[in-house]
């Protein structure tokens, strides 16, 4: 007999599939955009800004080689000195959310805390994607209409 001690929370937080009534509801990990721009610590801020803005983003996620989130460059940081490195410019240790969180809960939290975007990571800190508040609010409203 084996004990999966970390349990269901660990499974869901890793973004692994589940079954049940909640599995049909949209979650943060489903709605998060997977094409969010990423960068590494040693890149030049100006290069990252150009890459992000060309792709239509106002945020970039700083990750290591394993895609573990190290920091975030929001609009304010992206507007910094282009010659500085990402490491010098980023906001380190940003708040992250797990992929299994209900998107309506995320919409409420992000509205309440005035967050336009939030990184979604697994329990190991690996980036799943960026959840945009506009997406979360729109999908939460759609879900509410269906209920």
């Amino acid at each position: 007999m084996y004990d999966y001690e970390a349990g269901k929370l660990d499974w869901l937080a890793a973004g692994l599939p589940s079954e049940g009534t909640n599995a049909e509801r949209p979650r943060a990990g489903d709605v998060a955009r997977k094409d969010a721009p990423t960068c590494t610590l040693d890149e030049r801020l100006g290069d990252v800004r150009e890459r992000a803005r060309t792709a239509g983003w106002t945020v970039a996620v700083v990750v290591n080689a394993e895609r573990v989130v190290l920091g975030l460059l929001r609009e304010k940081e992206l507007d910094g000195d282009p010659e500085r490195s990402v490491e010098q410019s980023m906001r380190p240790g940003p708040s992250t959310f797990r992929p299994h969180v209900d998107v309506a809960e995320m919409a409420h939290y992000m509205t309440e805390h005035d967050l336009t975007s939030s990184p979604i990571t697994t329990s190991d800190g690996r980036l799943v994607g960026i959840l945009l508040r506009d997406d979360a609010v729109r999908i939460a409203h759609e879900e509410h209409r269906h209920d």
């Binding site: 007999m1 084996y2 004990d3 999966y4 970390a6 349990g7 269901k8 049940g20």
Partner: protein, 66 residues
Amino acid sequence: MKSIGRDEVRRLVETGAQLVEVLPKNEFDEDHIPGAISLPLRRLEKEARATLDPARPIIVYCWDGA
């Protein structure tokens, strides 16, 4: 009972292990690991023999390690 992580859970399930959620049934109905069966703690002792195959590995889990 040996404690295992999620990678080992996946590996064992792929090779035929039985996955048992011991949380209340309503929590199982909301969310469970694919392929798991519900055997809430209070029913575990009484129903385990009838429900589980002793010849195959058994993995039990609840919500978290707390």
